[in-house]
Symmetry: C2
DNA sequence: CATTAGCACTCCTTTGAGGCGAGTGCCAAT
DNA sequence: ATTGGCACTCGCCTCAAAGGAGTGCTAATG
């Protein structure tokens, strides 16, 4: 065999690629005859068979039973996906329609992201995910405090795009609502129109006129706001889960149930999305690379930072996903989202 | 045949009840022999058969094929459920544990209701639903406004229990952030500690010192807040959807897919919950009584108004639900929720 | 007249054998 | 190194037969 030591010959690569492609298209194990006829007509089935046997030994394929065709292993998927990612992809035909539909969502970032996650699901037959992360990079509009009783205070943070974030904090000493209002007003005056990251230091050094007496408490409040805004991936939108039931891969109830239970763990899901996304461009994470639970799924993510907001869009679908199509849809919708957020 | 004109004899009722019960327990069509032996040992299978034939004619049963047992129609379910609702139900054994677990959720009403909906799902193998409605009855803590630009203003309403509600409104004329702050402060002063319903009229007649110049605009803001708080069922929590896949009834992917698509329509679902719940006590709505889409499901709801908040807890499950168990679990958890909200 | 035992009949479900076909592995020829 | 040929494997489909649960009907019974 050629290409020992893990390096594949040109033809071997073509065989792997074709088998994965064929399997993605048909859902059936691919045989040597089919590959020869459809993808490598210059080579006879016997030649392909020999390569396939070698490639199986190298861990790219496996057979569900002796007399069946080959199925790709995750190693084969990895090779395929890496190759697909590098190619140029045509933009999907529906781009214009999506752009228009996304633009029509006017009721704030929440609504847009909910809509986008559902749209992703519908368009790809996968589960759509939209995560909003790194809140500290988004422009602030307003910070205010509501006294809930004792030293418990609710912090309300309004961010650019109508995004509202709230959390309860404990202050070291009790402040009146008037004092809290004053503090909120002063913070807002300094911070409005800037990202938290930009004004954090300034605020910590800021002398709040009239609040010197409670300086420590104010600092404490700022520290806690800092913690809230630094918490990553704080908003997650999931949509279109019903569509993956259209796929033959999830006819098996057990598999789908696993996915569903993952989807309900918002926190864990958010961390997963955060962990596997890369700074720029599409990332694909396959089955076992994610976790035992997700072994039948793959996770396609693309980050985008339009308009000061760092969002991550993603798909959760079967390993046997049409990566080419899914990735181009995902990229296209990510772009539409950026456009939409920018107005 | 006895009991013509739609009135059932005692025994006929028993037969209907037993068939439904047996079907709920086993998931199999019930035959005359089984019913005779297990539920009506004083009567021979032949007698039961005669009754069954009559009852089938009356629309209580149908047969999947000639030589199979009987299955209940929705008419039979209705009879069964109405009878079950009236009986006394034993409290489930896990009550204490649930109460403790619900109490441990400290992070506000949102978190409690999310948790409760998931708990409901897990405990009953149905989809758990928790709706928070009639916000106008909940005590207000704070109202404030954030200027988003032009005449667009965000209203932030903080309710008792750390519930935050926000919406964007359009005002007839532009106000500065300072003016908006002043308005928010004045409204809050009047309204804090009261339900909107109590102070609505007072607020409309209130003269906002220093804001006379923008009196009309203030009134408009109040009107819009009124609309926001009157919108029914404004928060909905759904949880535990994965559990209904444990049930044999949802092994059919198509059925589950329908349910899932209903669950993703938050608005429609909220209206459904609102419409079918009754003022007091458990209500059960069956399949076709709800909608064509939900023909294989039943909806069990129980309202509770502890602590000024009107909540509705519910289950969405198969028609072949163990109503006795589900209802007692639902009632028990509703009670635990009330307790938990009251502290 | 309601109830019951007996019995023929229906129809679904399971089981097993046989044939088909897709696909492989290996060998010998090119 | 590549290819054609060939025997072999194994899942899947079909078909017929057997099995069984349940019914409807009829005639007997208290």
């Amino acid at each position: 065999m050629k290409g020992g030591g893990g390096v594949l010959t040109e033809r071997q690569f073509e065989v792997v690629f074709s088998v994965v492609y064929e399997y993605i298209q048909t859902g059936e194990p691919a045989g040597s005859r089919t590959i020869s006829k459809k993808y490598l007509p210059g080579n006879s089935p016997a030649t392909i068979r020999n390569d396939m046997a070698d490639l199986e030994e190298m861990g790219y394929f496996y057979q569900p039973h002796t007399s069946a065709g080959r199925l790709p292993t995750s190693r084969a998927y990895r090779l395929y996906v890496d190759s697909v990612i590098q190619r140029r992809r045509p933009a999907p035909a529906e781009t214009e329609m999506w752009k228009r539909e996304i633009r029509e969502q006017k009721q704030g970032v929440d609504a847009i992201l909910t809509y986008v996650s559902q749209l992703l699901g519908k368009a790809t037959n996968c589960v759509g995910v939209a995560a909003l992360s790194a809140l500290e990079g988004i422009e602030l509009q307003r910070v205010s405090f509501v006294r809930l009783g004792g030293t418990t205070v609710m912090v309300l943070i309004v961010l650019e795009g109508g995004l509202v974030h709230h959390a309860n904090i404990q202050l070291p000493c009790e402040l009146s609502q008037d004092t809290l209002d004053e503090l909120g007003r002063k913070i807002s005056t300094v911070a409005a129109g800037h990202a938290w990251g930009e004004v954090r230091d300034a605020l910590f050094n800021f002398v709040f006129d009239g609040l010197e007496r409670v300086w420590d408490t104010c600092r404490d409040a700022l520290t806690q706001i800092d913690a809230i805004l630094n918490k990553r991936s704080s908003r997650l939108f999931v949509g279109g889960a019903q569509h993956i039931l259209n796929l033959p891969d999830f006819q098996d109830i057990g598999k789908f149930q696993t996915v569903l239970s993952v989807l309900e763990q918002e926190q864990a899901l958010a961390e997963m999305v955060e962990r596997y996304s890369i700074d720029q461009g599409v990332s694909v994470t396959l089955g076992e690379e994610i976790s035992e639970e997700m072994k039948d799924c793959s996770l396609v993510l693309v980050p985008s930072q339009g308009y000061g907001m760092k969002t991550i869009l993603g798909l959760i679908g079967p390993l046997r996903m049409d990566y080419e199509k899914s990735i181009s849809i995902l990229e296209s919708i990510a772009e539409d989202l950026d456009d939409s957020l920018a107005n």
